[in-house]
Each structure stands twice: as structure tokens, then as C-alpha cells.
């Protein structure tokens, strides 16, 4: 789907790097050591990093430099980690936090 830019006419060849293995939603992926989770996943063809906590709609990276928090994921059990800022590590377990309960909205549907 997407691909790595191995040769660049101005920036040159992509330096050989160490490959690390991590999981996203339980599936195994490979990334380049030191690159952010979001870059490793995009290179593997994964654009959807989470589903919105309330609406359940798919979301991916937006600003890619930590401002917008659109890429928040759960990393090794810690929620709200920005996939665009966090370098991928060997053995890292990344998952989306998923849709959260919205009891007030659900209650309102039948009662308000």
C-alpha cells in the first residue's frame, strides 16, 4: 500500500537500520529501530490507528508531530500514547483502546 523511500535524489540512500518486531492489535509487525510507531505501521500498510472513543469511526495520524493527539494508542498497557512521537521498540505491544461506554448518551436515547 505505502512504501519506504529507500533511494532519495537529494537525501540519498536510507541508512541500513536494525529491524524490530512489535505487535499492533495482536498482529506482528516489523519496524525500523528508532522510527515512530505511526511510521512503522504506515510502512506496513496500516493507516487506522484507533476507532473514536465515542463514535467508533476510524482515525489515523493527522499532524504527525505530537500536537493533535489523533494518533493516540495504548502502548504496553499505557493509554493515550502518541504513535507519531513514540519510537517503536522490540517486543512492544501496541493496541487501540477502542470505544468507551457512553452511559449518559445511551440513557438519554430512551429517557429524554
Amino acid at each position: 500500500m505505502t512504501e519506504r523511500i529507500l533511494e532519495h535524489p537529494v537525501l540519498g540512500s536510507l541508512e541500513a537500520g536494525k529491524t524490530v518486531t512489535f505487535t499492533f492489535n495482536g498482529l506482528e509487525y516489523e519496524g525500523r529501530e528508532g522510527e515512530p510507531i505511526a511510521a512503522a505501521l504506515l510502512a506496513a500498510g496500516v493507516r487506522t490507528l484507533r476507532h473514536h472513543e465515542e463514535s467508533g469511526k476510524p482515525r489515523g495520524i493527522y499532524c504527525n508531530i505530537g500536537h493533535c493527539f489523533e494518533c493516540r494508542v495504548e502502548v504496553d498497557g499505557i493509554q493515550g500514547v502518541r504513535a507519531c512521537l513514540t519510537p517503536v521498540r522490540d517486543g512492544m505491544a501496541v493496541r487501540e483502546s477502542g470505544v468507551l461506554p457512553s452511559p449518559v448518551r445511551d440513557w438519554r436515547k430512551n429517557n429524554a
Binding site: T2, V10, L11, I65
Partner: protein, 407 residues
Amino acid sequence: MRDLIIIGSGPAGLTAAITAAEHGLDVLVLDEYHKPGGRLLGQLYEEPGGTWWNGIEESRKLAERAGVLGLDIRLGKSVHNIEQVNSSWLVHADCETFEAKSLLLATGAAEAPVAIPGWTLPGVMSVGAAQVMTNVHRVKPGKRGVIIGVNVLSSAIAMELKIADIEVAAIALPKTNQVNGSASNPTEVMNALLHVSHMAPSLFVKMGSKLMKNDFMKKMGITFYPKNGVRMWDIPVMLRKAVIRIEGTDQVEGVTLATVTADGKVIPGTEEVIGCDFVCIAGGLYPLAELAALTGCPFYHINELGGFVPLHSQDMRTPLDGLYVAGNITGIEGAKVAMSQGKTAALSIAKDLGQDIADTSLSEAVRQISSTRTDAHIQFHPEVDAGRRKLQEYWDLHDAEKRKVMV
């Protein structure tokens, strides 16, 4: 206690850190990114004379110099609060608190969005996001993209995508709505582009930018602007087509374009869908200044500088004791201006901490900012000088008030 904490390791922050360390100050640099360089990292453009400005290389040089000086740079640290207690600054970053006599905010800029239905779909990203993915991480944001928003930043990044062999199907305007304002008005966008015609020679040679100097010709130019755009680096720049919707179910599949009138109204029945797998939103940059707002520093909205900026002097002091600013937090300009501001800020800080800094070297540094601005290849706002003058007037007023109080 440390002499100085710098928040932001971009061109302004790193240059300030290097200058401060060279003057013997004990400096700590914090940045939430995992690499030093800030927005410098993604930059790549050809300068007049044919040399390339390679932001990754420039960042590496700055980081190397910082390394030689033994600077303490902590990356991956997000600052969420700052406070002035007695005469020192407390900086709260993640679970740690750092303390210093002076604080330099060099937090840079953020990208403004434009409002388009479908913009939350995976595959839609800010144009800067595509730049970083391409040039820094070396991962293609997609196979074929559409850029929404025609401005200096989007044109520069479109070319960078092109260099990396990524297809850009079109650069088009956003549709007119309550949010998008002048960014969706073809006539106003063209006026803004004429100021940067040297950056897009092929576009304006075709349109005859010299002929476009008067308002009548500008009006004619936009009226007869080709509906399918004028090609710049082989990318169609569409000033008479706007993206009215981003299409896709689980991710981007395309955009719906429509022809618009010279003032941006959609002409019904002209809608067409073009396919793409990523979309870049380019609403321009604005100063990222929330941390300055936490201190109670006065702010002014100056359009030419990109939005709200903290009040500061030419030598990068703010009205608060021990608080300084440098780089895009002071107004949107290029990396070289940011570097000269960083150097100036460091000299002011060293002087205020009692170091022996000659008045002449400080005024020379201030002069350097102006000359760097004049020579800048990319001018984000054509009236940036006027914006700087406005801010200086606010500073002078503030200064006069302060003197009155002291008397």
C-alpha cells in the same frame, strides 16, 4: 539552580542553547520529539544558486555542535506547565520538574486546519505530516495525494513529495464555508501567491505575473485561470476548483472537486470525483504559544506574523523577568530567521544573568535578524516587516507604561 531552560530543540532553541553554552551558561533543552531539529527536520528546498537547504543535515550540524559543548538535551519530554516562583522558573515535564533562573520558549509553530467534510478519515493529514513522513521517516504517505490549500507551505511540500516520487494529483482550494475564509477565495489566494512568484516560476511565467500587477489584470487572471489548473513541477495547481468533500468509508478513496467562481462560490453541476489514497490539509502555520499564555505574558494578534504572538522586544525579551522567546512562537518565518533570533535571545539572557556581553554584539545580533529576514528565500507573509513594526509599537507602549510606573 540552572541558568537556563529552553523549551524546543528546533533551529531557534538549538542555536540559543549553543550560544548560551558558549557564553558559559548552564543550559537544559527539553523537546517532546524524539529527534532534535524541530520543523527544520522536514525542510528540503533548492536555494537560488542551486544548493539545497537540507533540514536533516542542518539539524545534525546543530546537534553535533551541541554535543561538542556537552549540552544537556532531553528528548521525548512534554512540558505541560510552567510557573514563576519567586525569581525562578519551574518547568513541569511529564513526571519531572526542572528549575532555572531563565526560561526561553522556542516552541515553534502548529498547522492550522481547513474545514472539509471527511477530514477525520485515515489518510487525511496535515501537509507537514506528509513532509515529515516522507523526508524524516522515509515512508510514503501514500501513492497519490491531493493537497487542499494553496499557499507557500503547501507549494513547497508538494515539490518535496514530487522529489520523493510521490504523485500529487492536484493542489486545490478548500470549499468556502464559515471557517475557511480567504483561503477559499481564488482572487485572494492568487494575490497572496503573486508575492511568492519567485518560488513558483513555471506557474507565473505562464500567467505573466508582470501583467498581474494591477487589480484589473488580477481579476482577468483569475477569471480566465484554466479550470484544470496550471502545472507547477507538473502538479496541477487549481485556483478555480475547490475540494468540497473527502470521500472514503474506512480510509481516503478520493476527493470531490467542483469548479468555483472567482470569489469561491461552487458552480452547481461541476462536481467530479478524483481518486487518491491520501489527502493533505494545508491551512498555514500559526505560532504555538500556549506555554507563554500560562505565564500571563501579554499577547497581540498580528495577522502578518500568523496569529497571536507573545509581546517581545527585538532582543527577544518578554515583559516578564527571565522569560524570553525565539523562533516561530514570535511569528511565522523561516528557519534561518529562527536561528538568528535564538542567538539574539541567548545573548540577552547571558547579559541579564550578568555575563559580559557588549551592547554592540547584542545590537549586531538584532541587525542580523533583519538582514536574514530580508534575504529569506521563503517569506510566509509578504508583509512580515509591517507585522514586526506593529509588535515593536506595542512593545514601546508597554515599555513607556512601565517606566511611568517606576517613576
